[in-house]
């Protein structure tokens, strides 16, 4: 029995996505033993292996194993009466990686790192930057609009529109400067 071209491609895509999680999971057990022996941290070894893994024969083998395993399972399902697409969906559901160890632990670690490094003073500084630049921008824009509009006499006879436009432009300029201030804080914090 052979599958349609579309399903074959979908199987290959699924196997490529999922097999690396299983491989990583299988390797972690081995890595933990290695870590005990060498004293290296798990993350360092994992990072080194990740570079190697993406193009290693082992990764290709794990992918091929999953393609065959999935295809065999789908054949059984089709023999039970499933359509090709239904069999693929069921196999996908059954073979999707669910362990916490590889996929979500990375995400959790990133969250942990983020909250560990979180400094309330940074947020306070960013807020003050926004407010400060906004006030400065509004003041400069207002004055510029007022003066460009022709001063007090013109302000009272319709020139207030120029003042209003200047104020709005100054406010936008202030927010822009606040964003730049926020970017500077973020970059400084990363270093």
């Amino acid at each position: 029995m052979t599958f349609s071209r579309e399903i074959t491609d979908q199987i290959a895509k699924f196997a490529r996505e999922q097999s690396r999680f299983y491989l990583e999971d299988a390797e972690m057990t081995y890595l933990e033993k290695l870590r005990r022996k060498s004293g290296q941290t798990r993350d360092k070894i994992k990072a080194k292996l990740a570079k190697f893994k993406s193009r290693s024969d082992t990764a290709v083998e794990a992918e091929n194993d999953m393609i065959l395993y999935m295809s065999d399972y789908m054949k059984d399902l089709i023999a039970e009466g499933y359509s090709e697409q239904e069999a693929f969906e069921r196999a996908k559901q059954e073979l999707a990686f669910r362990s916490d160890t590889a996929k979500s632990s990375d995400l959790r670690k990133r969250f942990e790192d983020y909250y560990r490094d979180l400094n309330p003073a940074d947020y306070e500084a960013a807020g003050l930057f926004y407010a400060g630049f906004l006030f400065i921008g509004v003041a400069i824009g207002g004055i510029a609009g007022y003066l460009a509009g022709g001063g007090r006499t013109m302000f009272l006879s319709g020139g207030w529109v120029d003042t209003l436009i200047g104020t709005a432009a100054g406010g936008i300029l202030g927010i822009g400067c606040g964003l730049i201030g926020n970017a500077v804080i973020t970059l400084t914090r990363k270093r």
Binding site: T2, Y22, L23, D25, A26, E27, T29, Y30, E61, A62, N64, D65, M66, I67, L68, Y69, S71, D72, Y73, D76, A91, E94, L95, A96, F97, R98
Partner: protein, 101 residues
């Protein structure tokens, strides 16, 4: 425990991945997730407990056939030793409440 069962199945003769899953289903382990056997085989291979022979398959990629190597046989013997100990103690607990006869 599943690792021991799969090692025992492999010890009975050369076998490929999904065939192991089929055997487990036939033995009554129907609730076993399909992914479990795939993940277990990867681990057995990474821990060098099996010997792998690749043969061409009709689906394209070569199919892997597994047999136990020396380390795998040792692991299987250790599994059965653990199992015998555990089952005898559980039986003892059931029959005599954990006291020697």
């Amino acid at each position: 425990m599943l690792e021991g069962i799969v090692l025992e199945i492999i010890s009975r003769g050369e076998i490929y991945g999904y065939e192991i899953a089929r055997k487990l289903h036939a033995m009554g382990f129907e609730g076993l997730a399909e992914a479990t056997v795939y993940a277990l085989l990867l681990r057995l291979e990474r821990n060098r407990l099996v010997h792998v022979t690749k043969r061409p398959s009709e689906l394209g990629p070569p199919r892997k056939f597994y047999t136990l190597n020396e380390k795998g046989l040792e692991e299987l013997a250790a599994f059965w030793a653990r199992w015998d100990f555990l089952s005898s103690r559980i039986q003892m607990l059931r029959n005599q409440g954990g006291h020697d006869a």
